[in-house]
């Protein structure tokens, strides 16, 4: 009788932390890893100061379809700024974008995208940009779900972040997205403070405007935090090798390799978008969030692959359950 009660309590204690995860291999891998590295006196114990976990953002913590949300932000921003830029009416990609013709606007590929980002992300101070991001997030809606972008986050990953922190981890974002685009909201949405957000960035220029110092965002790339840039970003900004890394695309491969190459127990995990019904299904052929080489490497090395369809009880926080 007491044994049964004890077992029941024990099972509850183990399953309580991640309620939106099914009791499948992915969750078991997380629980086993955290159990090992937090067991004081155990052979795999890791001191709290070294419990660094890194998370990609687009496609790992929040959605990235139909386009990276930062691109959608930039497009909305072009339309908002259009009245002040009459010259855009005859200039691609702006002309098509303003008319709402996204296909033509994006026909120019990466070059068109860079023009859009440059026109919307630079030439203002860091404080002005932060205000613009916050205003956009307060009103913009995702084109498919009609939800604010800050609700397009994965509930199981939010629970995972909290669970790791409850076990002494410091959780970091290491994302290809712009660092100034993420920091205004990551603390409120993920519990990740600005100083634990690593991302791509442009150069900054310090200026005195009268008596007031400002930092101006220059139209010059400073750091691209993607692919080979992710281990470099970890070294530059964190300076300590993570023991756990979470990604979803080939852009995260090197971050997972770098994490895996440390000594002692490690957790490398990929979120696989295989749930067309609740989210999107895409991998090897996708332009956004392509998961091809990293999936092969995960299979070859035994890294955990999370099936959104099979491993997650719930995807978004707004879903009924």
């Amino acid at each position: 009788m007491w044994v049964l009660v004890f077992l029941a309590v024990n099972v509850f204690a183990q399953s309580a932390p991640l309620p939106s995860w099914n009791d499948t291999a992915a969750k078991k891998a997380i629980m086993a890893f955290v159990g090992r590295i937090t067991k004081e006196g155990g052979p795999d114990f890791v001191p709290p100061a070294e419990r660094i976990a890194v998370f990609d953002n687009d496609g790992t913590l929040w959605a990235e379809q139909p386009l990276y949300f930062q691109v959608l932000f930039a497009m909305d921003r072009v339309r908002a700024l259009a009245p002040q830029h009459p010259e855009w009416r005859d200039k691609e990609p702006f002309a098509s974008l303003i008319k709402g013709d996204m296909t033509t606007a994006l026909a120019g590929g990466e070059h068109a995208l860079l023009d859009i980002v440059a026109a919307t992300h630079f030439g203002m101070t860091t404080e002005e940009f932060e205000r613009v991001v916050k205003e956009w997030l307060a009103t913009a809606k995702h084109p498919k779900t009609g939800r604010p972008y800050t609700e397009m986050i994965y509930q199981p990953m939010v629970e995972l972040l909290a669970f790791l922190r409850a076990n002494g981890f410091k959780t970091f974002i290491v994302s290809g997205g712009g660092v100034e685009f993420m920091r205004p909201w990551t603390e409120r949405i993920y519990g990740i403070p600005p100083e634990q957000v690593v991302g791509s960035s442009g150069k900054l220029k310090f200026e005195m405007r009268g008596d007031k110092p400002v930092l101006v965002k220059l139209p010059e790339v400073d750091f691209v935090d993607d692919k080979e840039g992710k281990p470099a970003g970890i070294q530059k900004f964190i300076g300590r090798r993570p023991i756990a890394a979470f990604g979803n695309s080939d852009g995260d491969l090197q971050m997972l390799q770098w994490t895996a190459a440390g000594s002692g127990p490690r957790l490398m995990m990929l979120v696989h978008h295989d749930d067309a019904k609740r989210e999107w299904a895409y991998d090897r052929q996708s332009k956004i969030g392509r998961l091809d080489r990293a999936l092969d490497e995960a299979n070859a090395r035994g890294w955990a692959v999370v099936s959104m369809k099979g491993d997650w009880r719930r995807v978004f926080p707004f879903e009924g359950h």
Copy 2:
């Protein structure tokens, strides 16, 4: 009687945290500031997440005479590497350096210094460099005191770091020194973990060596965290404006201006090297750690200026007291 006991306890509680500080204006400014911003319900209360304090390192947390310690490290390293570099015997600044003639070696000025740094800081992996720094620190001795460099730290500042952390602050280093040179020891010596160290850096290149990923230190400057670079470094690496900033030279001026320009209570403080007996005395004319414009600005704006001579009971931890 009870009133007297209460007063005595109160005085003790106020003076206990910073035992190496005299009870002068500098210490009072620190205590008053921390009291104001931690008083829950008070008009100046700052939530713990926003209690960011930034510290310069050279001349603020540890000494910087007769030369920045990182330069002394680079010089020792040239001598250690000399047997593998026969070509250095005919090439300045290396030839003079190996012979022990520092005056001639440094006659080339900044250019000579850059050659020395380039020859000793690049072309190896981040892990190799970390090992070299740790080995140097374990054996090298300061030329004047004969002490390990990690003992050439200011005891009052170490106490201040601990006092701020005990009051909910996150303490960061924001230094012109190399970030990879500082991170191997700041946690042990100052209690500041690697992820809270901002510094100058070179570019890094991710490479697979067989199955092992490495980051190679390239001979290309990535970021100079000095003067106008300091507010940029704060924005890049921390992403939140500090409420307290501590420096000692003109290289810290912009960091203090940036900190001062936020709203709410702020603490800006300069360490003034005016103690030739226990440390060194230098300011407006010094090549190392020049304090000129920043001292004028401190006086004009009422920033705190710490006299090492008058405000510090003890300078180094190894001093008798």
